[in-house]
């Protein structure tokens, strides 16, 4: 399989009254076609900025400072709005967190899906467009689409709205779908249904998915590969098995250990001490050092490079260096 999307050394920052906020710092990752990559991280770590950068959907205050975005080998970093319009929807598409906000409240949902179809399949008659829209809605699991097409978003339940948004995203047969926390705003039971539908469609249509989430459980359910982000950097990346069974970065380990599912009820949960640094004033060296019990002296001086653990598994922590002292499990 070839690399469908390759992002290299991407840095994005925002202009704020307090100065420059570094949202994404030197991020590199790649995506093969038909693969699901989950980007996991806490709020403010830059995971959705990363998606929006690739789609060029950033607000004007954001600036891409460096890096390249290769799609099928062509660099789109310098593309202007006009060129991007042709790529959006066809090559990549996006699903957002809040399905209510991402549908126009004053247009019937069917029309919104049809609108997306119309852009990508030129020369279809109105009837054919609506037929295709109906098909898309059935595909995403909306019962009786011909009836529901006339409804307005506010008449839909949360799950149905998110299915509609999926239908819109799929209208142009995109190669890559960016999903920005698509299940966060939904109830647990609905979340499970949407995730299953997502996985099924992904298999069926063979598209690549970048799935942004803060929930490790969701990531485990859907992802082939996982990238963990912290303070604008990818700190660990690997296949799902590698992340869940052989995590190396202390941040990933901390996240896993603070999950309540296997904790002794009423015992004490492990917590990562401290708080993530502000993107306005990142500390020198490793951004995670000041929350890491086993931080090395070098962590405060120099940023760690990506250490290779296996072909697919990389982590950015000095603890993996040959010279680092031996630590107790699970860190070593």
């Amino acid at each position: 399989m070839s690399e469908l999307l390759e992002v290299k050394d991407l840095s994005v920052s925002f202009d704020t009254p307090q100065g420059e906020a570094q949202a994404v710092r030197d991020v590199s990752f790649s995506l093969k076609s038909g693969e699901v990559l989950a980007v996991v991280g806490e709020s403010g770590c830059g995971k959705s900025v990363l998606c929006k950068t690739v789609m060029k959907l950033l607000p004007p205050s954001a600036k891409i400072k460096s890096g390249s975005i290769l799609v099928n080998g062509t660099d789109i970093i310098g593309y202007q709005e006009r060129d991007m319009c042709k790529l959006r929807g066809k090559l990549f598409s996006m699903v957002f967190q809040d399905p209510m906000a991402s549908l126009n409240p004053s247009i019937p949902v069917g029309k919104q899906v049809a609108e997306a179809v119309k852009i990508h399949q030129k020369g279809l008659s109105k009837k054919e467009i609506y037929k295709r829209a109906e098909e898309l809605m059935r595909l995403t699991g909306i019962a009786c689409p011909e009836e529901h097409m006339k409804w307005y978003p506010h008449q839909f339940s949360g799950g149905m709205r998110q299915r509609t948004v999926m239908a819109i995203a799929l209208a142009g047969n995109p190669k890559i779908v960016f999903a920005d926390e698509p299940t966060t705003a939904l109830d647990v039971a609905v979340q499970a249904q949407i995730l299953d539908m997502f996985k099924k469609l992904q298999k069926k249509l063979g598209m690549a998915v970048v799935f942004v989430t803060h929930d490790l459980g969701v990531a485990a359910r859907i992802a082939d590969r996982i990238a963990v982000m912290y303070a604008g950097k990818i700190v660990e990346t690997g296949t799902a098995e590698e992340i869940f069974y052989d995590a190396r970065h202390p941040y990933t380990l901390g996240l896993l250990r603070s999950l309540p599912m296997y904790a002794e009820p009423k015992g004490e949960l492990y917590t990562i001490p401290g708080m993530p640094p502000s993107p306005l004033s990142l500390p020198k060296g490793d951004a995670f050092a000041c929350r890491n019990e086993y931080a090395l002296k070098i962590d405060y001086e120099e940023e760690p490079p990506m250490f290779c653990i296996s072909d697919t598994h990389y982590a950015a922590t000095w603890l993996l260096d040959k010279r680092a002292p031996k630590l107790p499990a699970p860190y070593r």
Binding site: K52, M55, L57, P60, E81, R82, C85, K86, R88, G89, K90, S93, M94, F96, Q97, D98, A101, S102, L103, N104, P105, S106, I107, E115, A116, I119, H120, Y152, H154, V165, I168, A169, A171, G172
Partner: protein, 318 residues
């Protein structure tokens, strides 16, 4: 559902009539309480030379002798039958007086209103399109300045420049003497008042349109529309504008009285024979019957507009 709607409609009509009734009562008592001699407007200069007996006779003739309550009830009885009395100044049926003038105001106010709202919409879209870039900034600055110029002063300025000095356009009246049927002359007389009306009101609404559209462009569904491949023009016209226009329309309806008031001022400065000059005169010189009908007309108009806005808001409430 039908019954419910019918009931609602009846309720609305009743509410409307009740409001008009209250309004008429308020205006009636207010105008009688205000000082001034209504006889002046009927007899003009002669009043000063009238003896007491003559005065009493005149007041009786105009029905001003009775207590205010009796007068009001009498007026109300006549009004229900469609008789609003005669104008003291013009000495003819007030309906006739208004009929002769209302066309002029409808022309000025109507065209002005449409122009203001249409141009404001266009200007607002223009500014939103160039958000925070040079064209937007220039228009915003200019707009703020023009919106701060008092309407009457702008009128005076225009008359001074274009009428008195350059002599390009006429500065008063609705048509040249003896040319009442000449549309060209009417148009010529309309240009200056219309310009003043548009210039002094447009920015208030254009700024609102601009902010409303920018509010819409910040939402998630615009991001989704972008993500599905729509270009800026499609997003602006199919999504943002579509959502912004209902609230704009209701705001336009709600601000009819605002523009109406502006029309009155412009009419007065340009001595344009319309409702505005008429109501100014009638209020100033206590032409009671005329004043009543004028206030009720403009009040009814305003209340109707408010009701339309409410109706629209209810429908938009989903």
């Amino acid at each position: 559902m039908v019954r419910y709607r019918l009931l609602d409609g009846v309720k609305k009509v009743f509410l409307f009539l009740f409001s008009i009734f209250l309004l008429s009562a308020a205006v009636f008592f207010i105008s009688r309480l205000a000082p001034g001699d209504p006889l002046v407007s009927y007899y003009g200069e002669r009043v000063e030379r009238m003896g007491i007996q003559e005065r009493v006779w005149a007041e009786e003739k105009l029905g001003l002798k009775d207590s205010v309550w009796v007068q009001y009830i009498r007026w109300l009885g006549n009004a229900i039958r469609g008789e609003f009395g005669i104008s003291y100044k013009y000495k003819m049926d007030v309906i006739e007086v208004i009929k002769g003038r209302i066309g002029n105001t409808l022309l000025l106010g109507g065209v002005g209103f449409c122009l203001v709202f249409l141009l404001a919409l266009l200007l607002g879209i223009f500014c939103a399109w160039h958000e925070n870039r040079m064209p937007d900034r220039i228009v915003c600055t200019l707009g703020t300045i023009t919106s701060c110029i008092p309407e009457f002063w702008l009128s005076l300025l225009f008359i001074f420049i274009f009428s008195t000095n350059l002599k390009w356009l006429p500065g008063s009246g609705a048509y040249a003497v003896g040319k009442a049927d000449d549309w060209g002359s009417r148009m010529e007389h309309l240009i200056l008042p219309l310009t003043v009306l548009v210039v002094s009101h447009i920015w208030y609404y254009a700024y609102m349109v601009r902010n409303r559209i920018l509010e819409e462009t910040g939402t998630d569904y615009v991001l989704l529309a972008k993500a599905k491949g729509l270009n800026k023009r499609q997003i602006m016209f199919h999504h943002c504008l579509r959502n912004a226009i209902p609230s704009y329309l209701s705001m336009a309806a709600a601000s009819v009285p605002h523009v109406l008031g502006g029309t009155y001022i412009v009419e007065t400065v340009f001595s344009y024979p319309g409702i505005g000059t008429l109501s100014y005169e009638s209020a100033r010189y206590k032409d009671y019957n005329l004043l009543m009908l004028l206030s009720i007309l403009s009040g009814a108009f305003v209340i109707l507009c408010n009701m339309a806005v409410q109706k629209g808001a209810e429908r938009d409430g989903r």
